[in-house]
C-alpha cells in the first residue's frame, strides 16, 4: 500500500514537474522578451491578406463520427485490458467471451465502413 501511494505521489510530482517546466519557460521568457504589440501585429494571420469572415467554420460532421467511433472502441479497450491479464485463468471461456465482444463491435465498424462514413467525397 505504501508503494502504491508512493508511486502515485511520484506521478503527481512528475505532473507537477511538467507544469513547472511550462511555467518556468513562460516565466523566463516573460522576463526576457520584448513586448511591443500593436494592432496590425495582433491581427489574425491569413497568408498576408485581410482575414475573410470569422475564424469559425462548420466543419464536417465526419470528425464527430470519428470521435464517436473512437469513444466506442476506447471503451472496448477498457474491457480488453482486464481480460488480457487474466487470460490464463479464464481459459477458453474468456476467449469465447472476448470473441463475441469483439465480433459485435467489429459489426459496428463494418457498418460504419459500409455506410461510407470514412469516404470523403
Amino acid at each position: 500500500m505504501i508503494s502504491y501511494f508512493q508511486d502515485y505521489v511520484t506521478i503527481a510530482a512528475v505532473l507537477g514537474f511538467g507544469l513547472f517546466l511550462v511555467v518556468l519557460l513562460l516565466g523566463v521568457a516573460s522576463v526576457l522578451r520584448p513586448n511591443k504589440p500593436y494592432a496590425e501585429k495582433l491581427q489574425t494571420y491569413e497568408c498576408g491578406v485581410d482575414p475573410v469572415g470569422s475564424g469559425w467554420s462548420q466543419t464536417y460532421v465526419r470528425y464527430y463520427i470519428f470521435g464517436l467511433l473512437f469513444v466506442i472502441f476506447d471503451v472496448e479497450a477498457v474491457f480488453i485490458f482486464p481480460w488480457a491479464i487474466n487470460l490464463e485463468k479464464l481459459g477458453y471461456f474468456g476467449l469465447i467471451e472476448m470473441f463475441v465482444f469483439i465480433f459485435i463491435l467489429l459489426i459496428g465498424l463494418i457498418y460504419a465502413i459500409r455506410k461510407d462514413v470514412l469516404k470523403w467525397e
Binding site: 464527430y64 466506442i72 477498457v78
Partner: protein, 101 residues
C-alpha cells in the same frame, strides 16, 4: 477517513448538474451538466465500494459500466444535438420545440 465530506461533495456535484440542466440553454452545456451528475454517481459508487470493502468489487465494476454507458449516451446525445443544429442552425434548447405545436 470519514466518508461524509466525499458524499456531500458528490451531492453537491449532483445538484450543480441539476442546476446546469435547468439553467443552461445550450444543448451541449446540458449534456456537460449530465456528465456532472453521472460523475457524482460514480463518486458515490466508489466511496461505498471502499467503505464496504466489497470483495466482489461491485462498486468499481458498476462505475466502469456507468462510464461505458455514459460514453454511449454522450455519443447519441451529441449526435441528436448535431442533427438538430444542422436543421435549425442553433444549439439552443429553447428553440428545440419539435414536439409542440
Amino acid at each position: 477517513m470519514i466518508v461524509q465530506p466525499v458524499l456531500v461533495t458528490a451531492a453537491a456535484l449532483f445538484s450543480l448538474g441539476i442546476y446546469g440542466i435547468l439553467v443552461r440553454r445550450n444543448a451541449v452545456m446540458v449534456l456537460l451538466s449530465i456528465e456532472l451528475i453521472l460523475n457524482a454517481v460514480n463518486i458515490n459508487f466508489i466511496i461505498f465500494d471502499s467503505m464496504l470493502a466489497d470483495s466482489l468489487m461491485q462498486g468499481q465494476i458498476f462505475t466502469i459500466f456507468i462510464i461505458t454507458i455514459a460514453a454511449a449516451e454522450v455519443g447519441i446525445g451529441l449526435a441528436i444535438v448535431l442533427m438538430l443544429f444542422r436543421n435549425r442552425q442553433t444549439a439552443n434548447i429553447n428553440e428545440f420545440d419539435l414536439m409542440k405545436w
